[in-house]
Symmetry: C2
Subunit: 198 residues, 2 copies
Protein backbone atom coordinates (compact mmCIF):
# COMPACT_ATOMS: atom_id res chain seq x y z
CA UNK A 1 0.00 0.00 0.00
CA UNK A 2 3.05 2.26 -0.14
CA UNK A 3 2.25 5.42 -2.06
CA UNK A 4 -1.55 5.14 -1.65
CA UNK A 5 -1.77 6.25 1.98
CA UNK A 6 -3.98 9.33 2.48
CA UNK A 7 -2.06 12.58 2.62
CA UNK A 8 -1.07 13.83 6.07
CA UNK A 9 -2.14 10.49 7.58
CA UNK A 10 -5.83 11.48 7.59
CA UNK A 11 -8.53 9.86 5.58
CA UNK A 12 -8.93 11.63 2.27
CA UNK A 13 -12.50 12.00 1.04
CA UNK A 14 -13.94 12.91 -2.27
CA UNK A 15 -17.62 13.81 -2.49
CA UNK A 16 -18.69 10.20 -3.16
CA UNK A 17 -16.86 8.66 -0.23
CA UNK A 18 -18.01 11.50 2.03
CA UNK A 19 -21.60 10.80 0.96
CA UNK A 20 -21.23 7.06 1.57
CA UNK A 21 -20.32 7.69 5.21
CA UNK A 22 -22.89 10.46 5.71
CA UNK A 23 -25.77 8.30 4.46
CA UNK A 24 -24.72 5.54 6.82
CA UNK A 25 -24.76 7.91 9.81
CA UNK A 26 -28.14 9.37 8.72
CA UNK A 27 -29.59 5.83 8.54
CA UNK A 28 -28.22 4.91 11.97
CA UNK A 29 -29.13 8.07 13.87
CA UNK A 30 -31.87 9.54 11.72
CA UNK A 31 -31.31 12.70 9.67
CA UNK A 32 -32.79 14.98 12.35
CA UNK A 33 -30.69 13.28 15.04
CA UNK A 34 -27.41 13.77 13.15
CA UNK A 35 -25.35 16.91 13.70
CA UNK A 36 -22.37 18.17 11.70
CA UNK A 37 -20.35 17.28 14.83
CA UNK A 38 -21.52 13.65 14.53
CA UNK A 39 -20.49 13.58 10.87
CA UNK A 40 -17.16 15.21 11.63
CA UNK A 41 -16.46 12.66 14.40
CA UNK A 42 -17.37 9.68 12.22
CA UNK A 43 -15.43 10.93 9.19
CA UNK A 44 -12.42 11.82 11.30
CA UNK A 45 -12.13 15.22 9.63
CA UNK A 46 -13.02 18.71 10.80
CA UNK A 47 -16.32 20.40 10.06
CA UNK A 48 -14.52 22.91 7.87
CA UNK A 49 -13.11 20.02 5.83
CA UNK A 50 -16.71 18.84 5.29
CA UNK A 51 -17.75 22.38 4.29
CA UNK A 52 -15.00 22.21 1.67
CA UNK A 53 -17.20 19.65 -0.14
CA UNK A 54 -20.77 20.67 0.70
CA UNK A 55 -22.67 23.63 2.09
CA UNK A 56 -23.95 21.60 5.04
CA UNK A 57 -26.09 18.73 6.29
CA UNK A 58 -29.01 19.52 4.01
CA UNK A 59 -26.83 19.32 0.88
CA UNK A 60 -25.62 15.90 2.03
CA UNK A 61 -29.25 14.80 2.38
CA UNK A 62 -30.17 16.26 -1.01
CA UNK A 63 -27.27 14.56 -2.79
CA UNK A 64 -28.07 11.26 -1.04
CA UNK A 65 -31.77 11.14 -1.87
CA UNK A 66 -31.15 12.49 -5.39
CA UNK A 67 -28.72 9.64 -6.00
CA UNK A 68 -31.50 7.16 -5.15
CA UNK A 69 -34.16 9.07 -7.09
CA UNK A 70 -31.97 9.63 -10.16
CA UNK A 71 -31.24 5.88 -10.34
CA UNK A 72 -34.95 5.02 -10.05
CA UNK A 73 -36.00 7.60 -12.63
CA UNK A 74 -33.26 6.39 -15.01
CA UNK A 75 -35.04 3.01 -15.03
CA UNK A 76 -38.19 4.67 -16.39
CA UNK A 77 -36.19 5.92 -19.41
CA UNK A 78 -34.74 2.53 -20.34
CA UNK A 79 -35.98 1.17 -23.69
CA UNK A 80 -37.75 -1.79 -22.03
CA UNK A 81 -39.66 0.67 -19.83
CA UNK A 82 -40.78 2.83 -22.74
CA UNK A 83 -41.51 0.40 -25.58
CA UNK A 84 -43.95 -2.49 -25.79
CA UNK A 85 -47.00 -3.56 -23.83
CA UNK A 86 -47.59 -1.85 -20.51
CA UNK A 87 -47.45 -5.08 -18.47
CA UNK A 88 -43.99 -5.88 -19.85
CA UNK A 89 -42.82 -2.32 -19.23
CA UNK A 90 -44.19 -2.52 -15.68
CA UNK A 91 -42.43 -5.82 -15.07
CA UNK A 92 -39.18 -4.31 -16.34
CA UNK A 93 -39.60 -1.34 -13.97
CA UNK A 94 -40.25 -3.66 -11.01
CA UNK A 95 -37.23 -5.87 -11.79
CA UNK A 96 -34.86 -2.98 -12.42
CA UNK A 97 -36.11 -1.04 -9.37
CA UNK A 98 -35.32 -4.08 -7.33
CA UNK A 99 -31.78 -4.07 -8.75
CA UNK A 100 -31.42 -0.34 -8.09
CA UNK A 101 -32.50 -0.84 -4.47
CA UNK A 102 -29.82 -3.49 -4.02
CA UNK A 103 -27.15 -1.39 -5.75
CA UNK A 104 -28.02 1.83 -3.89
CA UNK A 105 -29.37 0.24 -0.69
CA UNK A 106 -28.32 2.86 1.91
CA UNK A 107 -29.38 5.74 -0.34
CA UNK A 108 -32.83 4.27 -1.03
CA UNK A 109 -33.21 3.36 2.66
CA UNK A 110 -32.64 7.01 3.54
CA UNK A 111 -35.02 8.15 0.79
CA UNK A 112 -37.80 5.92 2.10
CA UNK A 113 -37.45 7.36 5.61
CA UNK A 114 -37.75 10.98 4.51
CA UNK A 115 -40.83 12.55 6.09
CA UNK A 116 -40.93 16.06 4.63
CA UNK A 117 -39.72 18.42 7.35
CA UNK A 118 -37.38 20.44 5.11
CA UNK A 119 -37.41 21.76 1.56
CA UNK A 120 -35.10 18.95 0.45
CA UNK A 121 -37.38 16.35 2.03
CA UNK A 122 -40.51 17.83 0.49
CA UNK A 123 -38.82 17.86 -2.93
CA UNK A 124 -37.86 14.19 -2.48
CA UNK A 125 -41.43 13.28 -1.52
CA UNK A 126 -42.70 15.13 -4.61
CA UNK A 127 -40.36 13.09 -6.85
CA UNK A 128 -41.48 9.87 -5.12
CA UNK A 129 -45.11 10.81 -5.85
CA UNK A 130 -44.18 11.44 -9.50
CA UNK A 131 -42.58 7.99 -9.70
CA UNK A 132 -45.68 6.39 -8.11
CA UNK A 133 -47.90 8.20 -10.55
CA UNK A 134 -45.91 6.87 -13.54
CA UNK A 135 -46.17 3.32 -12.13
CA UNK A 136 -49.91 3.82 -11.56
CA UNK A 137 -50.28 4.86 -15.22
CA UNK A 138 -48.46 1.71 -16.32
CA UNK A 139 -50.89 -0.42 -14.28
CA UNK A 140 -53.85 1.47 -15.75
CA UNK A 141 -52.55 1.01 -19.31
CA UNK A 142 -51.94 -2.68 -18.60
CA UNK A 143 -55.57 -3.00 -17.54
CA UNK A 144 -56.73 -1.17 -20.67
CA UNK A 145 -54.63 -3.45 -22.86
CA UNK A 146 -56.28 -6.43 -21.14
CA UNK A 147 -53.06 -7.85 -19.68
CA UNK A 148 -53.59 -6.80 -16.04
CA UNK A 149 -56.58 -7.87 -13.97
CA UNK A 150 -59.21 -5.15 -13.90
CA UNK A 151 -60.57 -5.91 -10.43
CA UNK A 152 -57.86 -3.98 -8.56
CA UNK A 153 -57.40 -0.23 -8.40
CA UNK A 154 -54.29 0.94 -10.34
CA UNK A 155 -53.06 3.33 -7.63
CA UNK A 156 -53.53 0.72 -4.90
CA UNK A 157 -51.80 -1.89 -7.04
CA UNK A 158 -48.84 0.42 -7.62
CA UNK A 159 -48.54 0.97 -3.88
CA UNK A 160 -48.70 -2.74 -3.03
CA UNK A 161 -46.24 -3.62 -5.78
CA UNK A 162 -43.71 -1.08 -4.56
CA UNK A 163 -44.51 -1.97 -0.95
CA UNK A 164 -43.10 -5.37 -1.84
CA UNK A 165 -40.10 -3.89 -3.69
CA UNK A 166 -39.30 -1.27 -1.04
CA UNK A 167 -39.57 -3.80 1.79
CA UNK A 168 -36.17 -5.08 0.81
CA UNK A 169 -34.55 -2.06 2.43
CA UNK A 170 -35.85 -3.58 5.69
CA UNK A 171 -34.49 -7.10 5.33
CA UNK A 172 -32.10 -7.50 2.37
CA UNK A 173 -28.50 -8.17 3.41
CA UNK A 174 -26.02 -8.15 0.48
CA UNK A 175 -23.79 -10.70 2.24
CA UNK A 176 -26.48 -13.40 2.56
CA UNK A 177 -25.95 -14.76 -0.95
CA UNK A 178 -29.22 -13.72 -2.62
CA UNK A 179 -28.31 -11.86 -5.82
CA UNK A 180 -30.21 -8.81 -7.02
CA UNK A 181 -31.13 -10.74 -10.15
CA UNK A 182 -32.58 -13.74 -8.29
CA UNK A 183 -34.45 -11.40 -5.97
CA UNK A 184 -35.92 -9.50 -8.93
CA UNK A 185 -36.87 -12.80 -10.56
CA UNK A 186 -38.75 -14.07 -7.47
CA UNK A 187 -40.44 -10.74 -6.99
CA UNK A 188 -41.65 -10.65 -10.61
CA UNK A 189 -42.94 -14.24 -10.38
CA UNK A 190 -44.95 -13.54 -7.24
CA UNK A 191 -46.24 -10.11 -8.24
CA UNK A 192 -47.23 -10.98 -11.79
CA UNK A 193 -47.99 -14.70 -11.57
CA UNK A 194 -49.20 -14.89 -7.98
CA UNK A 195 -48.37 -17.44 -5.30
CA UNK A 196 -51.05 -19.87 -6.37
CA UNK A 197 -49.88 -22.81 -8.41
CA UNK A 198 -51.96 -22.85 -11.58
CA UNK B 1 -71.02 17.62 28.40
CA UNK B 2 -71.88 18.70 31.94
CA UNK B 3 -70.78 16.07 34.41
CA UNK B 4 -68.31 14.37 32.05
CA UNK B 5 -65.52 16.97 32.27
CA UNK B 6 -62.21 15.57 33.52
CA UNK B 7 -61.65 16.04 37.23
CA UNK B 8 -59.78 19.19 38.25
CA UNK B 9 -60.00 20.48 34.66
CA UNK B 10 -57.05 18.34 33.53
CA UNK B 11 -57.21 15.53 31.00
CA UNK B 12 -57.80 12.24 32.76
CA UNK B 13 -55.95 9.26 31.31
CA UNK B 14 -56.32 5.58 31.80
CA UNK B 15 -53.55 3.29 30.58
CA UNK B 16 -55.10 2.87 27.11
CA UNK B 17 -55.53 6.56 26.39
CA UNK B 18 -52.05 7.27 27.77
CA UNK B 19 -50.64 4.64 25.43
CA UNK B 20 -52.53 6.07 22.44
CA UNK B 21 -50.83 9.43 22.92
CA UNK B 22 -47.41 7.96 23.73
CA UNK B 23 -47.35 5.82 20.57
CA UNK B 24 -48.20 8.89 18.51
CA UNK B 25 -45.30 10.86 20.01
CA UNK B 26 -42.92 7.90 19.54
CA UNK B 27 -43.93 7.68 15.87
CA UNK B 28 -43.45 11.40 15.33
CA UNK B 29 -40.16 11.90 17.18
CA UNK B 30 -38.74 8.38 17.23
CA UNK B 31 -38.57 6.35 20.45
CA UNK B 32 -34.94 7.35 21.13
CA UNK B 33 -35.75 10.99 20.45
CA UNK B 34 -38.67 11.08 22.92
CA UNK B 35 -38.09 12.01 26.56
CA UNK B 36 -40.46 11.67 29.50
CA UNK B 37 -40.55 15.49 29.39
CA UNK B 38 -41.84 15.34 25.80
CA UNK B 39 -44.55 12.87 26.84
CA UNK B 40 -45.46 14.93 29.88
CA UNK B 41 -45.76 18.09 27.74
CA UNK B 42 -47.92 16.39 25.10
CA UNK B 43 -50.16 14.68 27.63
CA UNK B 44 -50.53 17.83 29.68
CA UNK B 45 -49.85 15.92 32.89
CA UNK B 46 -46.80 15.75 35.15
CA UNK B 47 -44.14 13.06 34.85
CA UNK B 48 -45.18 11.68 38.24
CA UNK B 49 -48.74 11.32 36.91
CA UNK B 50 -47.28 9.20 34.07
CA UNK B 51 -45.28 7.14 36.58
CA UNK B 52 -48.60 6.45 38.33
CA UNK B 53 -49.48 4.29 35.28
CA UNK B 54 -46.15 2.91 34.06
CA UNK B 55 -42.60 2.48 35.30
CA UNK B 56 -41.22 4.64 32.49
CA UNK B 57 -40.65 5.12 28.77
CA UNK B 58 -39.57 1.54 28.17
CA UNK B 59 -42.79 0.13 29.63
CA UNK B 60 -44.77 2.41 27.30
CA UNK B 61 -42.77 1.00 24.39
CA UNK B 62 -43.24 -2.59 25.58
CA UNK B 63 -46.99 -2.18 26.02
CA UNK B 64 -47.26 -0.51 22.60
CA UNK B 65 -45.35 -3.13 20.61
CA UNK B 66 -46.96 -5.97 22.58
CA UNK B 67 -50.37 -4.64 21.64
CA UNK B 68 -49.40 -4.92 17.96
CA UNK B 69 -47.70 -8.30 18.37
CA UNK B 70 -50.53 -9.80 20.48
CA UNK B 71 -53.06 -8.82 17.83
CA UNK B 72 -50.93 -10.35 15.06
CA UNK B 73 -50.28 -13.57 16.98
CA UNK B 74 -54.01 -13.85 17.83
CA UNK B 75 -54.63 -14.13 14.07
CA UNK B 76 -52.43 -17.24 13.95
CA UNK B 77 -54.74 -18.92 16.50
CA UNK B 78 -57.96 -18.26 14.63
CA UNK B 79 -59.69 -21.42 13.32
CA UNK B 80 -59.19 -20.40 9.67
CA UNK B 81 -55.44 -20.07 10.34
CA UNK B 82 -55.15 -23.49 11.95
CA UNK B 83 -57.49 -25.76 9.96
CA UNK B 84 -57.51 -26.66 6.30
CA UNK B 85 -55.03 -26.42 3.46
CA UNK B 86 -51.93 -24.32 4.07
CA UNK B 87 -52.61 -21.93 1.17
CA UNK B 88 -56.06 -21.09 2.59
CA UNK B 89 -54.61 -20.65 6.08
CA UNK B 90 -51.90 -18.39 4.64
CA UNK B 91 -54.45 -16.32 2.77
CA UNK B 92 -56.48 -15.96 5.97
CA UNK B 93 -53.36 -14.80 7.84
CA UNK B 94 -52.56 -12.23 5.13
CA UNK B 95 -56.11 -10.85 5.06
CA UNK B 96 -56.48 -10.69 8.82
CA UNK B 97 -52.98 -9.22 9.32
CA UNK B 98 -53.99 -6.51 6.91
CA UNK B 99 -57.08 -5.82 9.04
CA UNK B 100 -54.99 -5.83 12.23
CA UNK B 101 -52.60 -3.29 10.69
CA UNK B 102 -55.49 -1.00 9.88
CA UNK B 103 -57.08 -1.45 13.35
CA UNK B 104 -53.81 -0.98 15.25
CA UNK B 105 -52.03 1.27 12.72
CA UNK B 106 -49.91 3.46 15.08
CA UNK B 107 -48.92 0.47 17.21
CA UNK B 108 -47.82 -1.64 14.23
CA UNK B 109 -46.05 1.38 12.73
CA UNK B 110 -44.01 1.70 15.92
CA UNK B 111 -43.35 -2.05 15.99
CA UNK B 112 -41.99 -2.00 12.44
CA UNK B 113 -39.57 0.82 13.30
CA UNK B 114 -38.07 -0.97 16.30
CA UNK B 115 -34.37 -1.60 15.69
CA UNK B 116 -33.23 -3.56 18.76
CA UNK B 117 -31.30 -1.14 20.97
CA UNK B 118 -32.99 -2.14 24.24
CA UNK B 119 -34.22 -5.37 25.84
CA UNK B 120 -37.81 -4.50 24.93
CA UNK B 121 -36.82 -3.88 21.32
CA UNK B 122 -34.82 -7.11 21.06
CA UNK B 123 -37.78 -9.05 22.51
CA UNK B 124 -40.09 -7.45 19.93
CA UNK B 125 -37.70 -8.36 17.10
CA UNK B 126 -37.58 -11.95 18.40
CA UNK B 127 -41.40 -12.15 18.32
CA UNK B 128 -41.41 -10.70 14.79
CA UNK B 129 -38.95 -13.39 13.70
CA UNK B 130 -41.20 -16.04 15.27
CA UNK B 131 -44.17 -14.67 13.32
CA UNK B 132 -42.12 -14.67 10.08
CA UNK B 133 -41.05 -18.23 10.73
CA UNK B 134 -44.67 -19.39 11.14
CA UNK B 135 -45.60 -17.66 7.87
CA UNK B 136 -42.58 -19.25 6.17
CA UNK B 137 -43.77 -22.68 7.37
CA UNK B 138 -47.22 -22.02 5.91
CA UNK B 139 -45.64 -21.17 2.54
CA UNK B 140 -43.51 -24.33 2.72
CA UNK B 141 -46.54 -26.51 3.56
CA UNK B 142 -48.49 -24.86 0.75
CA UNK B 143 -45.70 -25.83 -1.65
CA UNK B 144 -45.67 -29.39 -0.32
CA UNK B 145 -49.43 -29.64 -0.73
CA UNK B 146 -48.99 -28.52 -4.33
CA UNK B 147 -51.05 -25.32 -3.99
CA UNK B 148 -48.19 -22.80 -3.95
CA UNK B 149 -45.65 -22.46 -6.77
CA UNK B 150 -42.47 -24.31 -5.94
CA UNK B 151 -40.12 -22.00 -7.84
CA UNK B 152 -39.85 -19.42 -5.05
CA UNK B 153 -38.10 -19.77 -1.73
CA UNK B 154 -40.57 -19.97 1.22
CA UNK B 155 -38.64 -17.56 3.48
CA UNK B 156 -38.22 -15.02 0.65
CA UNK B 157 -41.89 -15.38 -0.25
CA UNK B 158 -42.92 -14.76 3.35
CA UNK B 159 -40.80 -11.60 3.42
CA UNK B 160 -42.19 -10.28 0.14
CA UNK B 161 -45.75 -11.08 1.15
CA UNK B 162 -45.43 -9.23 4.44
CA UNK B 163 -43.40 -6.50 2.74
CA UNK B 164 -46.58 -5.83 0.82
CA UNK B 165 -48.79 -6.05 3.94
CA UNK B 166 -46.50 -3.96 6.15
CA UNK B 167 -46.12 -1.27 3.49
CA UNK B 168 -49.55 -0.03 4.41
CA UNK B 169 -48.13 1.57 7.57
CA UNK B 170 -46.33 3.88 5.10
CA UNK B 171 -49.26 4.99 3.00
CA UNK B 172 -52.63 3.88 4.39
CA UNK B 173 -54.77 6.76 5.63
CA UNK B 174 -57.97 5.66 7.43
CA UNK B 175 -59.82 8.78 6.27
CA UNK B 176 -59.33 8.17 2.54
CA UNK B 177 -62.29 5.80 2.23
CA UNK B 178 -60.52 2.49 1.55
CA UNK B 179 -61.86 -0.04 4.07
CA UNK B 180 -59.67 -2.63 5.73
CA UNK B 181 -61.78 -5.34 4.10
CA UNK B 182 -61.39 -3.97 0.56
CA UNK B 183 -57.68 -3.48 1.13
CA UNK B 184 -57.31 -7.08 2.34
CA UNK B 185 -59.31 -8.29 -0.66
CA UNK B 186 -57.09 -6.47 -3.18
CA UNK B 187 -53.94 -7.61 -1.41
CA UNK B 188 -55.08 -11.25 -1.45
CA UNK B 189 -56.01 -11.05 -5.16
CA UNK B 190 -52.62 -9.65 -6.14
CA UNK B 191 -50.50 -11.82 -3.85
CA UNK B 192 -52.24 -15.11 -4.58
CA UNK B 193 -53.58 -14.61 -8.09
CA UNK B 194 -50.93 -12.24 -9.45
CA UNK B 195 -51.36 -9.08 -11.51
CA UNK B 196 -51.48 -10.89 -14.82
CA UNK B 197 -54.91 -11.40 -16.32
CA UNK B 198 -55.28 -15.11 -17.00
Amino acid sequence: MVGTAPRRGRPGYDLDSLLAVAVQVFNERGYDGTSMEDLSARLGISKSAIYHHVSGKEELLRRSVDRALDALFAVLDEPDATEGRAIERLEHVVRRSCEVLVAELPFVTLLLRVRGNTGVERAALARRREFDSIVTDLVRQGEEEGDIRRDVDPALTARLLFGMVNSLTEWYRPDKGLSAHDLAESMAKIAFGGLRNV
